[in-house]
């Protein structure tokens, strides 16, 4: 069988012990959460860590709690299946529940975690392959090589952020808590991303994601997630869009937001969506026209690259369709939009 490289595994029971191990390893360690992304990547020879620090046995890392102010605090090791099935998440953060329900297939949602999905490595058809395969084309910019096969002549890796939950969390205004030894910080998820496909996060590799906080949403919050993929199960997104509408007491749109994933290195919000939707009443022609305008904004701004398999042209053509359907689903309290 395809072999894992040799490494040492530590399974600390406390956060502190994990932070110590990571600090001691001085960059030679990697963190393993559910392992559903890291282990295939290790089998592909994409990393060769001396040490894996497992988060599986850290106390308090699993769970979904409602804070007094109505915010949700989700432990990073909470399985995606649990996020998807949580009535609390379904009620307060529907886009996140929907996105989590569409990650991979049933077994991988049992194993995969929300923290792991947020911290997912970027993906590319030229990168997520075995060592033999990558060697046969002379490697690529992201790993072991100097050439980009997506953008020929490109100097910047454009491997795709492929985490379904990222755009959902962005539309929910989530913040992420990171820790390393003697250092804590909280970062809005929207500020996490950098445009570098090799490492698309503005955090260091020895920083540990310790919690995902979803602030209390307005009573008029509506959210949905839509996903394009080849099959109805197992596959990573070819395009993922989360939509949020905030309705006022009359039911008119007060605020709105769309974020997309599986485009380029980082998940991307669409600018100007609130402006075109504000004041419209879902269910009216006026709202439908505004949704169409928002979909066209998405079409102009979100440009999938030939990084993940399949036609980039097609993925782009699906941007306005998915945007429209996801916004409409959010307005109706429905979703997920899947299959497209």
């Amino acid at each position: 069988m395809l072999r894992l490289p040799s490494f040492q595994l530590e399974e600390p029971k406390s956060l502190y012990a994990a932070l110590v191990l990571l600090a001691e390893a001085k960059g030679e360690a990697m963190v393993i959460a559910g392992g559903t992304d890291l282990l295939p990547n290790l089998k592909h020879g994409l990393f060769a860590p001396k040490l894996l620090v497992s988060l599986a046995r850290i106390e308090g890392f699993v769970g979904i709690e409602e804070e007094p102010d109505g915010a949700l605090l989700v432990g990073p090791m909470t399985p995606l299946a649990r996020v998807a099935e949580s009535e609390l998440v379904q009620a307060k953060a529907p886009a996140l529940a929907q996105a989590a329900s569409l990650v991979a297939g049933p077994q991988l949602r049992t194993q995969g975690t929300l923290g792991g999905n947020v911290m997912l490595d970027t993906r590319c058809q030229w990168y997520n392959q075995t060592h033999f395969w990558r060697q046969s084309l002379g490697y690529c910019l992201k790993k072991d090589g100097t050439a980009c096969h997506v953008v020929q002549g490109g100097k910047k890796c454009v491997a795709a952020a492929s985490n379904d939950t990222a755009p959902a969390l962005m539309t929910l205004g989530a913040t992420l808590r990171f820790e390393r030894l003697n250092e804590k910080r909280e970062l809005p998820i929207k500020s996490l991303w950098s445009p570098d496909g090799i490492w698309n996060k503005r955090c260091d590799k020895d920083e540990l994601l310790t919690a995902i906080r979803i602030p209390a949403q307005d009573p008029g919050h509506r959210g949905a997630y839509g996903k394009l993929r080849t099959r109805e199960s197992i596959d990573f997104p070819l395009l993922g869009l989360a939509a949020r509408l905030t309705l006022d007491h009359e039911g008119r749109v007060q605020d709105a937001e769309i974020s997309g994933v599986a485009l380029a290195a980082r998940p991307s919000p669409v600018r100007g969506v609130a402006d075109v939707l504000r004041g419209t009443l879902p269910g009216t022609a006026e709202f439908d026209e505004a949704v169409e305008a928002a979909a066209q904004l998405a079409y102009k701004q979100l440009r999938p690259l030939d990084n993940v398999p399949g036609s980039a042209w097609y993925r782009r053509e699906m941007v306005p369709v998915l945007a429209r359907r996801t916004l409409q689903a959010a307005a109706k309290g429905e979703g997920p939009v899947h299959p497209l």
Binding site: M1, L2, R3, L4, P5, S6, F7, Q8, L9, E11, I32, G35, T36, L39, P40, K43, H44, L52, S54, A56, R57, A81, A104, G105, P106, Q107, L108, T110, Q111, E232, S233, I234
Partner: protein
């Protein structure tokens, strides 16, 4: 190498394993539990599905060490423990898979049956759509899934009637066919 204390199919097992060995390797090559299959190497096919505390996981993407402290069920542990009767007793899921023609090459089916069992553990009356969802991480290349879904539905009906755990294979002709399992 370290010695892992695992609980597999209700048995306490000690096994020496490298940190980079997967649970699938340890099951198949160290413990001789070869019913769990390897089809894709890396989490794409579901053939290596085992239950972790009753929930389906892929043993090819599970480090052996991380199984410590969990109750692992493989296909070898799906049937109830023998009760001393001479007639072998299987899980209703196994019986129904056998009756409905769901076992063609049989290679993906240990994982498939475990996914089906996990579904029935939490949902005694799944709809066809729920069956499709629950089995959507297990690829089968032989059956077109039709007889597999029929088998799960047959198991559900038989459990509801209290007669699912019939003998494994009496070998006799003319056992009662599953509803809908035989075309007109």
């Amino acid at each position: 190498m370290r010695v892992l204390q695992l609980e597999i199919n209700g048995d306490a097992r000690e096994v020496a394993a490298h940190d980079h060995w997967t649970l699938l390797e340890v099951l198949r090559y160290s413990l001789g539990l070869v019913g769990s299959k390897q089809g894709c190497d890396k989490g794409d096919c579901g053939s290596c599905t085992v239950l972790f505390d009753g929930k389906p996981v892929l043993s090819c993407l599970t480090l052996a060490a991380s199984a410590v402290g969990h109750q692992v069920t493989t296909i070898e542990g799906l049937a109830p423990k023998p009760t001393g009767t001479l007639q072998p007793v299987l899980d209703p899921v196994q019986v129904a898979f056998n009756d409905c023609g769901a076992l063609q090459c049989g290679f993906c089916q240990p994982g498939m049956m475990l996914s089906a069992r996990a579904l029935l553990n939490t949902n005694a009356e799944p709809s066809r759509e729920e069956i499709h969802q629950a089995l959507s991480g297990n690829l089968c290349r032989c059956t077109g899934y039709t007889q597999i879904v029929q088998a799960v539905e047959t198991a559900v009906a038989r459990i509801a009637q209290g007669d699912g755990a019939s003998a494994s294979n009496d070998g006799a002709a003319g056992h009662s066919p599953p509803d809908g399992g035989v075309p007109a």
